[in-house]
């Protein structure tokens, strides 16, 4: 030990005091992840629905970052390696006690045991968030690689998991920042700066450091292999047609006879019973006489009933199956519709091109596919 110390002392003093702890890829990973979590939270909680595209991209990039970090955790330089911050349970507990009593007995160059727990927990929670998000995207929105494999029922399980773990993530981010501040206070080191420069101070009397170099080639090869396999798998899933999104044969009679007065609603937007009731009461159709010839009524009724909500597994069909029993024919009276539109002001509904609440196509540019993608919402500008 004294031999190595002498060796170190031969080098310049500066070199022995500051040491490169976080390599560039680790730092780039950290701040990229910060950016993605920020974008994910803003687009998930605050931004309007049509920012969904950005939310999805933040998710995909997060997955890429997570995969990279795990690979770098094997092939990265010393302190990026997972093994350097894998501590025993008792070790973690004793460190937490030290932290709580503000009496650190040992200094760690890389992650300390409590910090390490946070790193692993963050990796796990972010994995759960991205995987559940991918399932919601596929099951509910019929988008992304899982659109064909994930049914709406899958998204009904995945969606609450996604939400709950995001709340957990926010709590963890707060704890993480708190930990950084706390450790900075105890050690007098600016940890945020360390994550920018990569340098950390080595206290006097620290045991000599073994600093293994990164193996970038191995890391690149493993990452590439992973993405080749994972990408092919997802690409294979992506070839499946979106589940529960049927091909709807256009019907001329429906589109002209009903479409003369209002946009032809996608048949998946109401259950069969509601369509039957509507077609039987055309003489008083939302306050208007909409009488049609018997042939038209028969053809349209058959068309609507054959393609009613029960026949689809889209988000809209699943939601609008739950009609308000008092208004079985009104989509805009369903609790889901009201909840999704409560932030839209009455003035917005009056904008030319929208006019009334029942004019779905005023903003939902893909309404007649039954998809109602978040990204396809375009509220016209008021003049």
């Amino acid at each position: 030990m004294s031999d190595t110390n002498t060796q170190n002392n031969k080098k310049t003093k500066r070199e022995s005091r500051m040491v490169k702890v976080w390599d560039l890829p680790t730092r780039a990973f950290h701040w990229s992840l910060v950016a993605m979590v920020f974008i994910g939270l803003v687009t998930g909680y605050i931004a309007p629905e049509w920012w969904m595209g950005l939310h999805i991209w933040a998710g995909y990039i997060t997955v890429t970052l997570l995969v990279f970090r795990l690979v770098w955790g094997v092939f990265g330089s010393e302190y990026a390696r997972l093994e350097t911050f894998t501590f025993s349970f008792s070790h973690i507990i004793s460190h937490m006690k030290e932290i709580v009593t503000l009496r650190p007995v040992r200094h760690y160059i890389g992650h300390n045991p409590s910090g390490a727990v946070m790193i692993f927990a963050l990796l796990l929670v972010l994995s759960i968030i991205t995987v559940s998000g991918l399932l919601v995207l596929g099951g509910e929105e019929n988008q992304g690689p899982m659109a064909g494999a994930a049914s709406y029922a899958v998204s009904e399980i995945a969606a609450p998991i996604h939400s709950i773990f995001v709340v957990l993530l926010v709590i963890m981010v707060v704890l993480h920042i708190g930990g950084v501040i706390l450790e900075g206070k105890i050690t007098g080191e600016n940890l945020v700066l360390s994550m920018i420069t990569g340098l950390k101070r080595v206290p006097e009397g620290t045991a000599p450091l073994v600093h293994r170099q990164a193996r970038p080639l191995a890391a690149i090869l493993v990452t590439a292999t992973f993405f080749a396999i994972g990408g092919s798998l997802l690409a294979a899933f992506a070839t499946m047609p979106p589940s529960g999104l049927n091909h709807l044969e256009p019907n001329k009679v429906y589109e002209t006879d009903c479409g003369d007065c209002h946009l032809p609603y996608h048949p998946s937007l109401l259950p069969a019973k509601s369509w039957e009731q509507m077609m039987a009461t055309l003489d008083d159709h939302f306050g208007e006489d909409a009488t049609l010839g018997a042939d038209s009524v028969n053809e349209i009724t058959t068309y609507l009933v054959n393609n009613a909500a029960e026949k689809w597994d889209t988000e809209a069909a699943n939601r609008f199956k739950n009609i308000d029993p008092e208004y079985p024919m009104q989509i805009t009276k369903t609790s889901y519709w009201i909840r999704k539109h409560h932030e839209i002001s009455p003035e917005t509904f009056k904008i030319k091109g929208v006019g009334v609440k029942s004019n779905c196509g005023g903003c939902h540019t893909d309404h007649y596919t039954g998809r109602f993608d978040d990204q396809k919402i375009k509220i016209p500008k008021a003049k």
Binding site: H262, G287, E288, D289, A290, G355, S358, N359, G362
Partner: protein, 133 residues
């Protein structure tokens, strides 16, 4: 050259005049209502009908103008926000040229606005008014 131009103008005027006088689908439709008992068309009554606030049919549609707007040469809007082409034949040349459509809409809208079916006389009055617009 000048003669040729004049000839063309004269020819197009003649063609236009004959076309308007010639029996077309709209005239056939009017003839059909005449056969049902309508007399000579009275555009003034048609105008009165278009502007009248009946309020005897469905409460949401007291008059034609509820949806068609007060000016026949301008378009209207359905209560669901869908634009309606102007009723004036000069603006929408294919108005009253499809028998099935004419019957469908007179039936619906007379019941909805007036609360009863329109007579053949009312129909020709209405169409003749829109032909002057």
């Amino acid at each position: 050259m000048k003669n040729a131009k004049l000839f063309l103008i004269a020819a197009s005027i003649i063609v236009a005049l004959t076309a308007s006088a010639e029996a077309g689908p709209r005239e056939d439709i009017i003839a059909g209502f005449t056969a049902e008992g309508a007399g000579a068309p009275n555009p003034d009554n048609g105008k009165m009908m278009f502007n009248k606030n009946y309020a005897s049919g469905k409460p949401d549609t007291p008059g034609c103008t509820t949806c068609h707007g007060s000016n026949p040469s301008q378009g209207g809007e359905t209560r669901t926000g869908k634009p309606i082409d102007p009723m004036a034949v000069s603006k929408t040349p294919d108005r009253f040229t499809d028998k099935a459509k004419v019957d469908k809409w007179f039936l619906r809208n007379c019941q909805g606005v007036i609360g009863r079916e329109c007579t053949a006389q009312e129909k020709v009055d209405f169409i003749s008014f829109m032909m002057t617009q």
